[in-house]
Symmetry: C2
């Protein structure tokens, strides 16, 4: 295990270099403590019980309405629920101690949190599967090492910013006949209490960056998880409370505020005057409400509609395979999944000859069927559908070239599964494609030519938001045009991905996740804004 | 003259060190080109003419309603006025070239701007006097070297942030049997067009930081000056347009949008969808409107009410002298001027014995009278009152221990002058003191004890905003309490200032101006937020 100091040094260097870096390798084989089997057993023991890993004193109720998308039964796990006033007053008390800790002290405690969480990677894999519907490998990686890496990325950026100015200086100004001498101190003052609002599909990965950024900047935080995806982050909170307590800090520096879809508490918490920071992952409508709250520093990741410009390729099979995998991974329920594929009406050039528009559509559809129907790949790539509404939305698409269909999972007979639908559509039919269709669905859009394909992709990114985008083109000058136009809409572009490179994957310390420049969100994992808006520089002067 | 490269290197080092640094010395003697006399002559030639220093093609009208607070006559200078559509469309055209320039290219052009502005320091001193009412020395320093230093500070911070990540890397991720290799680029993409809304009292000092930050980050900008303080920034814009043109860039990268109080254009510009960045200095009410505009990155400096906690001192005369100078400088029309002095009802301890509350009040009043009535100091320290409303507000204060009174200016017989009023008031009389009273007025507030003095000062900073604050105390532990409580309200504190140290003075590269944490504004000259919110990191990936 590396020390906090080593991690912060490595993290700061990695942030600048933006090459591959990880402190938590993504392979389960890298971890010898625990195992999938043990974690499956512990998960079974949690069912239909009161959850006891984090502090429950003063609970006003015990609630929990999670449903496993694999088992299609309720988990029956009940979590302690606290009144908003209890949560806020405990956070305010905890804040008194935490706000005056140094960046090094905070890094120590949070590093301990990361290593305690690491011991739970297998538990998190199982709990993430049975709340989100992710496949096992994604559950392990996303909620375990990838989440920890993103948390450490936010910590490293915060550490760097908190220490970027001298903390105490002698200011000596020559005044002609004499010098004016002042002692000055510069302190990063925490903004105040933080609220981190989680989503149903990535309950830890999308939560810990904001949480660790808040904490590193000295702000006690309350996590409001999605009511259908509580367990993974509840396990994380349990570990963190233990780490805070072990370090002599108030365990309530991190709290979990659970609720139900029927009686949500998010607005009450978000609007509370003591909440100064809000991190939010979720739908755009509620995200815009969060962004509109006055007097709060707000960090959002909302919906995006990710486009693919398909203009010319070398090997069409490799390209169709890559797109189909990107669309199938977790059944298109990733915020980075492609949705709209813009293709010239005249088709595309390939090294193997030209393909008509219809051949492109059927090539993609066949690649998707092939993957879904591969029993060794399909079920594990697709995982399960987190929310019934997602399944219904995709199943109701009319005129699909390839309809979404359920795929048998050999381990979970009742799993709610769905392979991506493929719909071919004219560019003019914006009612069909120019909106988010969250879940397993690809729209192949017939454009006049590549210029229209680019124009529509860029316009869509600017208007609807895009977290990422792709381009397949063998024409370098066209690629430059695509980069310029998409980047002007603040959408990153991945060019000519085949093989093991997938647009969905955003690596901590290298890829900025969400740019913050278009409607898909106002913040980035993790640029300097991501941490600097969580504290305020204040300088005092002493004569 | 230093090169852009040297300036950016020095600036970045100075930002971190936060000790004294200047690229533009504040003494007029440091500048051999030009003179006060020459500039007075040129100023006289500008009166009642059409202003021709910046581009006027396509003007729809010529307007100008400035009045000299020294001469009390209209300047009669008319500036070309353009329609919003003309301004925006020219900015958009200019932006096409400017946005793709490199940080080094931008630093070159903007350094040229700074040196061209330097040649106009004497002109700016005279034009600033006759629009703002500042005394000559303040006019020279604030609009000349101090403004240039603040512009350079913003440039340096932007340069540092624009170059903080590697711009191109090879990402090599070990995948077990093979490596995944991607080329990645990281680009800071400009947010879009900027609008910089100036104020009447510091027409260049409060404008150039946001302007240079915008430009350094690749955003063409439109300046909307206060209709009563156009001339100084018009001269700056003239120089900048020449610099842009000389460097082969579109001169309309910087434009001036003049208006009148009767027909303001600010809202039309601010709400224009192409304006993505707004810098604002001015009243709180309009500032809150600007902050509420959706989809804009907004940087505000609004009203603050700066408090002084007076608890114990060594030499009362030195302290009263310091406070009276801080309150008299530019007749209290600085955003950093003290307004409310919180004093324990039992009075204060001094090295010369204790003083009653009333003795403190009279000590301050006498120091103010003494300064105002010193013919060598008074008129030049006070300057003139920019706005008739300020004079009326202060003159209408009832129950003043010392009434505001006009002070004869030996050079300008008609000058609108006013020395600070001193009002003694009970803490409970919040209607009198707990609001901004912009202009020359000090409220000495009778508090139960020092704890109440601190509590009221901190509460006032949190609720009304405070750009700065002061404390006089010989008790170190009380000073610590004051620092903690005021800093928690995001107000900086200056302790025990006497002699040549004045609370009003915020030095570029050392003192953050406005913290951004309380209602006095949401931004700081110049932390990292000040520049990072003006562009967006976008990464592209190439297989």
């Amino acid at each position: 295990m590396k020390s906090a100091k080593e991690l912060m040094q490595e993290g700061q260097a990695a942030l600048k270099q933006r090459t591959y870096y990880t402190a938590f390798p993504e392979s389960p084989k890298a971890y010898t403590e625990g195992s999938t089997e043990e974690s499956q057993d512990s998960f079974a023991r949690l069912l239909n019980q009161d959850f006891s890993e984090f502090k429950s004193e003063g609970a006003q109720a015990w609630v929990g309405t999670e449903v496993s998308p694999y088992l299609m039964t309720g988990l029956g796990i009940r979590y302690p629920q606290f009144s908003t006033e209890t949560l806020i007053s405990r956070a305010e008390t905890a804040q008194m101690g935490w706000r005056s800790s140094s960046p090094d002290q905070r890094a120590e405690v949070l590093t301990d949190c990361l290593y305690r969480i690491q011991k739970r990677f297998f538990d998190l894999a199982v709990s993430t599967m049975h709340t989100t519907g992710q496949g096992y490998m994604m559950s392990f990686q996303a909620s375990g090492p990838h989440a920890n890496d993103r948390a450490m990325e936010a910590m490293s950026m915060a550490y760097q910013e908190l220490t970027r100015f001298e903390s105490e200086v002698q200011f000596v100004k020559p005044m002609g006949k004499f010098d004016l001498t002042l002692r000055k101190t510069f302190k990063p003052i925490p903004r105040g209490l933080g609220l981190v609002i989680g989503c149903s599909t990535f309950p830890t990965w999308n939560t810990v960056p904001g949480l660790f950024a808040n904490l590193m900047c000295g702000n006690a935080s309350i996590i409001k998880p999605h009511p259908k995806s509580i367990l993974p982050i509840a396990q994380v909170v349990g570990e963190m409370q233990k780490a805070f307590e072990a370090a002599g800090f108030d365990p309530y520096t991190v709290q979990l505020a659970v609720d139900t879809l029927e009686q949500p508490v998010t607005k009450e918490l978000a609007e509370h005057p003591s909440i100064k920071l809000i991190d939010y992952t979720g739908g755009s409508h509620f995200g815009e409400y969060i962004e509109s709250l006055p007097g709060k520093s707000v960090f959002t990741e909302k919906a995006g509609v990710n486009g693919v410009i398909l203009e010319s390729v070398n090997q069409p099979a490799a390209v169709f395979g890559n797109i189909s995998f990107a669309a199938s991974l977790y059944s298109g329920q990733m915020c980075t999944a492609p949705q709209n594929i813009f293709v010239p009406a005249a088709g595309i050039q390939t090294a193997e000859g030209s393909l008509t528009f219809d051949q492109v559509v059927s090539g993609i559809a066949e690649a998707i069927s092939g993957l879904a129907n591969n029993p060794k790949m399909g079920p594990f790539t697709l995982g399960a559908i987190q929310n019934e509404a997602t399944a219904k939305r995709v199943q109701s698409l009319s005129g699909a070239v390839l309809a979404a269909s359920s795929v048998e999972n050999p381990e979970f007979a009742d799993a709610r599964t769905l392979s991506p639908a493929v719909v071919a559509v004219d560019a003019a039919d914006t009612a069909t494609w120019k909106q988010e269709c969250f879940g397993p669905a690809l729209f192949v859009i017939r454009c006049k030519d590549r210029e229209e394909a680019l124009a529509l992709a860029a316009q869509s990114a600017a208007e609807l938001g895009a977290i990422t985008s792709q381009c397949y083109s063998t024409d370098e000058s066209f690629c430059e045009q695509v980069a310029d136009a998409m980047n002007a809409a603040f959408a990153p572009v991945s060019f000519n991905f085949t093989g093991a490179a997938f647009v969905n994957q955003h690596a901590a310390f290298s890829d900025f996740h969400v740019t913050g420049g278009n409607p898909s969100g106002n913040a980035t994992f993790a640029d300097a804004n991501y941490v600097n808006r969580r504290f305020v520089w204040v300088g005092n002067r002493y004569a």
